[in-house]
């Protein structure tokens, strides 16, 4: 059975006389994205599988080569689109390593908070979709409700809830708005409540337990041989987490634990993810307590501006009161960024844009701005290469960036954490039945944007 998407007929020809060839096609109901699993099944038992990927290959690496460094951030958002902030910060970290920049402390704390929020949304989506496929629609709806609250928090900081492009080389785009702490802590306690509800619904649920316990088992040796990292590896019993092994940002200042499973099956992965969400909440609470203080926004006379007033109400859907509003000049033109700028953006003049009031009043800053933004100039890391890694939702997310001294990268390579998991998946699937594929695949958390790039 060749079709234009098959290289050759060899897999289909291995179907035995009493066996059946089943195509878990590219467009299928588990809302994980597009992937094709070809099976040869003997009744319900899976004999052989082959996994076909590449249906969402969007040419991320080729696109990055043709645009300047800061333009790469929107492309990185769409890699692991359920935790876009982690990808953004990973890429920013790679370029900063190349250039030797250090992000100021407050910027690092903001990065940690936003990364952990993203990690929680990633795990919520994964566990929610997994339980939905096993029939527990309620758990999915509760998790989506919790995810919406977190999206509102992220939106108040970055302006978008999915494709954020919040990181900049040398820091983050803007400081946290006023009232963020209260809003975030309230949302986190609501999310914590939802996690407790899900715990009650799912963790000791007979049906869920039977469908996930000892299903989809990957042994430790297999996991290491395939290069698997992240919750998948931790469910097999190895406590490797990039945040503890090679601490980056300011993770070494926080007190958190790495949940580790022991059997490497689906149930353990579910438990590891649930616990990781609680640990992320713990990290965010500690970060909000100890974040270095500073005013959030001030205008040119030193009066504090309510950061919520700077948010674009039209974009966030709250349009009711906009009809009678007078147009106002954006506060940042009046120099409001000045005092907080140094706290969140690296002072190095090679990558970070200077504060707006300087740009508009001062020829040196104008030239600095011009040199970073205009075509032909731009951010120019020195010639070299670097491999920098962060802990993504699924494991070690690495960026290998090669620079040739110009303003376009020579090569950007994203090491996707779910790629090795998918390459080893055929071993796991071949041990079970067709119905187990759905359960196992749900816990893998394959994000096609990341896998195919």
């Amino acid at each position: 059975m060749t079709d234009r998407l098959d290289q050759d007929n060899t897999f289909f020809e291995q179907t035995g006389k009493r066996e059946m060839f089943v195509n878990f096609g590219p467009s299928h109901p588990s809302m994980h994205g597009v992937i094709r699993i070809k099976l040869i099944a003997d009744g319900e038992f899976v004999k052989k599988t082959e996994i076909d990927i590449g249906y969402l290959h969007r040419g991320f690496e080729k696109e990055c080569e043709s645009c300047p460094y800061p333009n790469g951030f929107p492309y990185t958002d769409r890699l692991n689109y359920v935790s876009p902030l982690i990808n953004n910060f990973g890429f920013a970290k790679a370029v900063e390593d190349l250039m030797g920049l250090t992000v100021p402390e407050r910027g690092e704390y903001i990065r940690v908070i936003m990364s952990e929020l993203s990690r929680i949304t990633d795990h919520l989506t994964c566990v929610g979709a997994c339980t939905m496929e096993l029939g527990a629609f309620t758990a999915f709806l509760y998790m989506m409700k919790a995810r919406e609250w977190l999206y509102e928090v992220i939106e108040s900081v970055t302006g978008a809830h999915l494709t954020v492009s919040y990181a900049r080389i040398g820091g983050v785009k803007a400081d946290l708005p006023e009232g963020f702490s209260e809003h975030c802590l309230k949302s986190l306690s609501d999310v914590s409540g939802v996690l407790d509800e899900i715990d009650v619904l799912m963790t000791r649920n007979r049906i869920f337990y039977d469908r996930t316990r000892d299903v989809g088992v990957m042994t430790r040796e297999e996991a290491i041989a395939y290069g698997v990292t992240g919750p998948f590896l931790r469910s097999t019993g190895i406590d490797y987490d990039v945040r503890k092994a090679f601490p980056y940002h300011v993770y070494d200042r926080f007190d958190f634990e790495i949940p580790v499973g022991w059997r490497g099956d689906n149930y353990d992965r579910y438990l590891v993810r649930m616990e990781e969400m609680r640990q992320s909440i713990r990290i965010i609470r500690q970060a909000l307590d100890t974040i270095p203080p500073g005013p959030t926004s001030v205008d040119s006379e030193g009066n504090v501006i309510n950061a919520a007033a700077m948010a674009d109400l039209g974009k966030t859907g709250r349009t009711k009161n906009l009809i009678n509003l007078e147009a106002r000049v954006e506060p940042t033109l009046e120099g409001s960024e000045k005092r907080i700028h140094a706290q969140v953006r690296d002072a190095c003049r090679k990558a970070g844009l200077p504060p707006k009031d300087q740009t508009y009043t001062n020829i040196e800053s104008l030239m600095n701005h011009f040199k970073i933004v205009m075509d032909g100039h731009g951010v120019r890391p020195p010639k070299g290469e670097t491999y920098s890694f962060v802990e993504g939702g699924n494991g070690e997310l690495g960026f290998y960036v090669v620079s040739d001294g110009t303003d376009h990268p020579w090569r950007v390579r994203c090491r996707p954490p779910c790629f090795p998991i998918m390459s080893g998946l055929h071993n796991i699937l071949e041990k079970g039945q067709i119905a187990d594929i759905v359960a196992t695949f749900g816990t893998v958390n394959m994000i096609a944007g990341e896998l195919d790039r």
Binding site: M31, G33, Y55, L56, R58, K62, M144, K145, G317, G449
Partner: protein, 160 residues
């Protein structure tokens, strides 16, 4: 923004009333096939769940089989490798059917201008409504759905 009216149904009072009735029925009971590939899928999930409930517009029941669906909601980038699959799914759907291009990657290819991405799904299947955005906010999706419903109401329906 006014909607262009499509071929206005000919016939007397009974025929036009029947047409209106069928239009009303079809627009408020859309069975979607969520053809989800990428990030727009997350926004579809947001639109379909409790905060922005798409079910109150009648389109809340995703049918994961092309034979049972009337609205093909293509959400997410369609790559060259995926294009034959999309075409096949579209051909498997029975009339009446509509296609919604959800997200700017399906409208025009988005900001992916390279060898791997189809520049807009209207190169492969005919599209009824384009919902731009990267990803479109759930309110935009609901707005697009309402416009599609107006279009369905105003077009010609027949029972055969």
């Amino acid at each position: 923004m006014e909607m262009t009216s499509y071929s206005s149904p000919k016939g007397g009072f009974v025929a036009t009333s029947a047409n209106q009735f069928l239009g009303w029925g079809r627009k408020y009971s859309l069975f979607l096939y969520p053809f989800i590939t990428a990030c727009c899928g997350m926004e579809y999930m947001s639109a379909a769940c409790s905060h922005y409930d798409i079910d109150r517009f009648g389109a809340g029941l995703p049918r994961f089989s092309a034979r049972q669906a009337d609205l093909l909601l293509v959400a997410g980038t369609i790559t060259e490798k995926m294009a034959p699959v999309l075409k096949q799914v579209h051909e498997q759907m029975c009339l009446p059917k509509w296609v919604m291009a959800f997200g700017v990657c399906t409208c025009t290819g988005g900001f992916y201008d390279n060898y791997a991405v189809v520049p807009g799904i209207d190169r492969i299947v005919p599209v009824d409504i384009y919902v731009p955005g990267c990803p479109p906010r759930p309110e935009t999706v609901l707005d697009g759905l309402i416009k599609l419903q107006e279009k369905i109401q105003n077009s010609e329906h027949s029972l055969t």
